[in-house]
């Protein structure tokens, strides 16, 4: 039996890396669920190539999954990993720079044979497992392939099927290392393979083999415990950003009583919203996979005209194609939610990598003066809140609303103290009532105090009217080329967006006082990294505050006041400086941009160093 010693840790970052066919995403997700059920706080970061099965063994084919779990508040998936599991040499090469010095490497030696070395462009005489180059790390070499094959020699499965169980060995071993119950994974395997008992048995056997390997070998001097985190009391679940966005949309549909129509075209990293929504038809959720991005938004506009909570979802390249139709929706003044799960661009860019470079596209990316409301989620869980808010504003203000997410929070996961539906804010929708012969003529562009026009559904007696992309005369909605009317309508559409500010919360500080030396002003998915960085900076006695924007157009009414309270405002963004331009323009302050454009999220340490440099 192993003579390992237990050590208690506050938090740990583990990165699972292997070939995209090695099942690392599944392994990571399974460990995530177990950690969540155990009561740790956590954040995850899947990092995978765009190719479904990139050439085996190559650097391009490396797929990674990072989890940061702990007994304290966890805001990010971690800057560096403490433990790196690598299934082949390419995975090591791609991820070693992200491992802390002295960290644990668990390497599958079979993935370091001459063929894998050649595929990863590593010279034959430089096998890192044997050439001493990993001396600074705690290296554990295991022939996972061989052990798995031995364990399943009598399974009756072919070599290919047997090798597919390798990831379960790794999972079992990591479960052992961190004293985790394997119950949730055992249940998962039983359910996933219930129609193929041989494969089910094989996976269970290899999972157990991984655990036993830790238990019986002398390889591991330590086992670790990470106590449950002190979190707010309540019932939790684990959730990914895209899933949370989908649930936010469904909730808005149920709470408003409006059937939901989601017109979309598959695109990374937004497709999972479609996958999730398409499973919930019993909530009156209608999904339509259109022939292209343009048809996707146009079908949603048709559904909105007909009286649905209409939503279209995509990522940057798809949003570019939708631009003209967003303009139409703005002219029609119908409710529409446009979901953009941002990825790194331009053009096809880096489809599986994250970026925040579509803010200007949302703000200005259409012909003519075409303002829309823009909201952005700051974390996986916040995707629920802001997707819900996007629906609420679209429906109550008869206006197109952008909901911005990004690849990082869309695929990342965290524990969620989920709400009860009775506690969600009400969404009130009214349709124009039918009219008789003696009533005045229906005026489709007569506005209320929000400046929104009536929603007049086809099929309602006496409301026959025409809408369209040509400029409308205010009130009547008739085509008008009158110069003054056009100017008035442009200003009204802008004012209509601006008035949304009366119906959204004021900006709050995430950390630090409302005045001080330096404000870190972030938006969207950088929240966790900025939050951690601010805590570190404040811990070192620096007078730094952090505010994070989720309502970007219009801004909360008190934002200008907050900005005035700081000597310096720094705007960190995963782009080449977009929010900062808007802030400078709107508030005439010398806000400092801090940009990273690598397809990767901020590391907290990068932010800490940058802020110190600015303060120096």
């Amino acid at each position: 039996m192993s003579s390992s010693v237990d050590k208690e840790l506050e938090s740990v970052v583990i990165r699972f890396a292997g070939d995209s066919g090695d099942g690392m995403q599944l392994t990571g997700t399974q460990f995530t669920n177990a950690a969540a059920l155990f009561g740790n706080d956590l954040a995850t970061f899947p990092d995978f190539p765009a190719e479904i099965r990139a050439p085996i063994g190559t650097l391009a084919g490396v797929s990674g999954f990072q989890i940061h779990f702990g007994s304290t508040k966890i805001n990010t998936p971690g800057d560096m990993s403490d433990v790196l599991v690598v299934m082949n040499v390419a995975a090591l090469k791609a991820n070693l720079k992200g491992l802390v010095k002295g960290g644990v490497i668990i390497a599958n030696s079979d993935g370091f044979d001459s063929k894998n070395m050649r595929l990863a462009n590593v010279p034959e005489d430089q096998n890192p497992l044997t050439d001493g180059s990993l001396a600074e790390y705690d290296l554990k070499v295991i022939d996972v392939t061989k052990i798995t094959r031995a364990a399943l020699a009598d399974s009756g499965l072919g070599t290919k099927e047997i090798d597919r169980c390798k990831n379960m060995f790794v999972l079992g071993l990591i479960y052992w290392m961190y004293h985790r119950s394997m119950d949730s994974s055992i249940e998962f395997i039983k359910s996933k393979f219930k129609k193929n008992e041989a494969v089910m048995t094989a996976n269970l056997k290899v999972l157990q083999a991984g655990w036993s390997y830790g238990e019986t070998t002398e390889m591991f001097a330590n086992r670790y415990t990470v106590a449950p985190a002190k979190m707010n009391a309540g019932v939790y679940r684990s959730i990914m950003g895209n899933q949370a966005a989908a649930l936010g949309l469904v909730s808005a549909s149920v709470k408003s009583g409006m059937p939901l129509f989601y017109g979309t075209y598959p695109i990374t990293p937004a497709s999972d919203i479609l996958h999730e929504l398409s499973r919930h038809k019993n909530f009156n959720i209608k999904t339509f996979q259109a022939e292209d991005e343009i048809a996707a938004i146009c079908s949603s506009i048709g559904a909105s005209f007909g009286g649905n909570l209409a939503i279209t979802g995509s990522s940057g390249p798809g949003i570019a194609l939708k631009g003209e139709a967003i303009g139409l929706a703005t002219m029609l003044e119908l409710p529409l939610v446009i979901v953009n799960v941002q990825r790194a661009g331009p053009s096809t860019g880096l489809p599986t990598k994250t970026e925040q470079a579509d803010l200007m596209q949302a703000y200005f990316g259409r012909n003519g003066e075409c303002p829309v409301v823009i909201l952005a989620a700051q974390s996986p869980v916040d995707c629920f809140n802001m997707a819900y808010e996007a629906c609420r504003i679209a429906l109550e203000h008869m206006i197109p609303v952008f909901f911005l997410s990004d690849g990082y929070i869309a695929n990342g996961s965290e524990p969620w103290l989920f709400p009860q539906t009775k506690d969600l804010q009400d969404i009130k929708v009214e349709f124009a009532p039918e009219r008789g012969n003696n009533d005045d003529k229906f005026m489709p562009y007569l506005r209320d105090e929000k400046l929104s026009r009536p929603w007049a559904l086809p099929g309602t007696k006496g409301l026959e009217h025409r809408i369209g992309g040509l400029e409308k005369q205010n009130v009547t909605g008739n085509i008008s080329y009158d110069p003054n009317n056009h100017e008035q309508m442009v200003l009204l559409r802008q004012e209509k967006v601006d008035r949304v500010a009366d119906y959204i919360p004021l900006q709050t500080m995430d950390n630090g006082p409302e005045t001080g030396d330096l404000l870190i002003l972030g938006w969207g998915g950088t929240y966790g990294a900025l939050k951690t960085a601010t805590a570190i900076l404040r811990g070192e006695g620096l007078n730094v505050s952090h505010a994070h924007l989720r309502y970007i157009n219009p801004f909360p009414k008190n934002l200008g006041e907050i900005l005035k309270g700081f000597k310096t405002v720094v705007v960190p963004e995963l782009n080449n400086g977009q929010l900062v331009k808007i802030i400078r323009d709107k508030y005439f302050i010398d806000a400092i941009p801090y940009n990273k454009i690598q397809g990767l999220p901020f590391m907290s340490t990068e932010v800490v160093n940058k802020i110190k440099e600015i303060l120096a």
């Binding site: 059920l37 009561g39 449950p228 707010n232 009391a233 309540g234 019932v235 939790y236 679940r237 684990s238 649930l247 469904v250 909730s251 149920v254 059937p259 129509f261 919930h280 038809k281 019993n282 909530f283 009156n284 209608k286 339509f288 259109a290 022939e291 292209d292 343009i294 048809a295 146009c298 079908s299 506009i301 048709g302 559904a303 005209f305 007909g306 009286g307 649905n308 209409a310 003209e324 139709a325 139409l328 103290l417 989920f418 709400p419 009860q420 539906t421 012969n437 086809p458 099929g459 007696k461 006496g462 409301l463 026959e464 009217h465 025409r466 809408i467 369209g468 992309g469 040509l470 008739n478």
Partner: protein, 339 residues
């Protein structure tokens, strides 16, 4: 309006001044639609006209129904979203040859394959009118226009053949100058369950005047038009003296002096292969061996479920047990409690 009071064509005319060029074929189509609609026995609030961009697409503004003048080529997609979610409405798509065959070609074919129960009126004038006279995707090769001063090199689309190729379930052609035929075809299109695609030859008297005169003028039309009627032999000619026979899959023109009408090709709207052959009667009418241009209903398939039916059948089945429990959905399958 009381239900006892029958609607008239005037009830379908909006208060907006019609702004097509005087003499435009669009006027006739507007009039025929306004004539047909009162006979359909539906209250007018159930009608929705959706158009794209182009001269024809101004149409909805002149109808006192629900309407949307949308963006170029996308009426088909908008109509699909509306019909899917509001299947009880009567949804009409007004489009032109540029709108549906060029910029909106993709949506056009995909709508046809899905087969929502909507009615398409494709105004084909073989020219871009609103942008003042460039060649269109249905203009004949060699067409001299503002954008093709020495003649267009593009081969034209054949909208009927394209529609059949996209598995349309109702395909017909009519002309602006024949009100009775137009009304009959539009009405049949309305009655068809599924997408009805009606191509209407429409004269643009400003930029492409006379494009179809060989099919509309007294002296030439009987020689050049083949009026298809279901179950009837295919006969044409100045004195109804010619007919079409099939030699295998090859259509041939015969003289009725030599052949009995009983031996001619009997038009069968449900026969896709024969409809496909007829769709290819698309010769240049100045060619000496040209076949007459068919008008009427090429093809009807009443056996294909509509998109809106299939879409809503899934919804109804899913909703049969009532609305799902949102709190359960949000909670998911695995939760844990923190005290």
């Amino acid at each position: 309006m009381e239900t006892t009071e029958k609607l008239t064509s005037k009830d379908f005319a909006s208060d907006q001044e019609v702004r097509w060029c005087p003499g435009c074929g669009d006027y006739s189509i507007l009039k025929q639609v306004q004539t047909v609609l009162p006979d359909l026995g539906r209250p007018k609030e159930e009608f929705v006209f959706i158009s794209g961009i182009g001269c024809s697409s101004r149409f909805p503004y002149y109808m006192d129904t629900f309407g949307m003048h949308s963006i170029h080529g996308r009426a088909t997609a908008i109509a699909t979203g509306l019909k899917a979610t509001r299947p009880e409405l009567s949804v009409w798509i007004i489009t032109g040859d540029g709108d549906s065959m060029s910029i909106g070609g993709n949506h056009f074919i995909h709508m046809l394959r899905r087969n929502p129960d909507v009615n398409v009126l494709l105004f084909n004038n073989q020219i871009y009118g609103l942008t003042k006279g460039q060649y269109s995707p249905t203009s004949e090769q060699g067409k001299v226009t503002k954008s093709s001063p020495i003649g267009s090199v593009d081969y034209p689309f054949n909208p009927i053949a394209l529609a059949l190729g996209a598995d349309a379930t109702f395909v017909a052609r009519t002309l602006d100058r024949d009100p009775k035929h137009q009304q009959a075809v539009i009405k049949r299109g309305y009655e068809h369950k599924g997408t009805s695609m009606v191509e209407i030859y429409q004269n643009c008297n400003v930029f492409n005047d006379g494009a179809f005169e060989v099919y509309t003028e007294k002296g030439s039309k009987k020689e050049n038009i083949l009026l298809m009627e279901n179950g009837k032999p295919l006969i044409f000619g100045a004195n109804d003296d010619k007919g079409i026979m099939l030699d295998g899959f090859k259509p041939i023109i015969v003289n009725l002096a030599d052949v009995s009408a009983n031996d001619l090709w009997i038009h069968d709207e449900t026969d896709l292969v024969k409809a496909t052959i007829l769709s290819r009667f698309y010769d240049d009418p100045t060619h000496p061996d040209h076949k007459p241009r068919p008008f009427g209903v090429f093809y009807v398939n009443s056996n294909k479920n509509t998109f809106d039916e299939l879409f809503n059948n899934q919804m109804d089945a899913a909703m049969a047990k009532g609305l799902g429990d949102l709190d359960k959905l949000i909670a998911g399958n695995e939760t844990w409690v923190v005290n």
